[in-house]
Amino acid sequence: MLELTAEVLDLRAIRARVEDPGFGAVLVFEGVVRNHFGGRPVTGLEYEAYPELAQPVVQAICAEIKERWPGARVAVAHRTGALDIGETSMVIAVGTPHRGACYEASRYAIEALKERLPVWKKEVYADGEAWKPNSPV
């Protein structure tokens, strides 16, 4: 359900994991490396993961989604290591029988992963670097 990799993410392969002939909707969400944070130019990012805990966290989030939106299928992939501006850092693919549930489940997935997935992001600037949490500490 979760793929952690230092390689470029393969969107088609991740999408293929949620395909189903009974689905009328598939959404593929991409998180992308942005070139600024709070007005400060960012030159690149570095991601670090805790794989042994990331897997059960994703499994739990997928189970929550399947309970709220029955029949939904979810696949998640996240990059590790150094990334350049514009690269895809995360992909969430969701498939459902109808579009309404697809948008809702996709949004639920990204918010839950931002809060709970044990992955850390270091922003690299022209003149330094900093680990940046998703929620203010």
């Binding site: 805990l53 850092s89 044990p118 992955v119 270091k122 680990w131």
Partner: protein, 76 residues
């Protein structure tokens, strides 16, 4: 005194100089006590995993346990 494996990530890993190490802890020490022993203030709020399962800071550690300190996450 029990020995445990300590796993750290992000800024905590950088402060320790490595992501995994074997350490000796006082008998009966909890996860939160080990964190406070090893890191000076100001400390970021952390989550705890013992043997790769999320748990509370009040969990008492035993010989051979793996304690992971989980700083605020930033994936996405």
């Amino acid at each position: 005194m029990p020995h445990i494996t300590l796993r750290t990530f992000a800024q905590l890993r950088e402060q320790r100089g490595r992501g995994e190490e074997r350490i000796e802890i006082p008998e009966g020490a909890t996860a939160a006590e080990v964190y406070a022993m090893l890191f000076k203030e100001p400390r970021v709020p952390v989550g705890y995993a013992v043997n790769e399962t999320l748990t509370r800071g009040t969990t008492v550690l035993s010989e051979g346990d793996t304690l992971a300190l989980i700083p605020p996450v930033g994936g996405g």
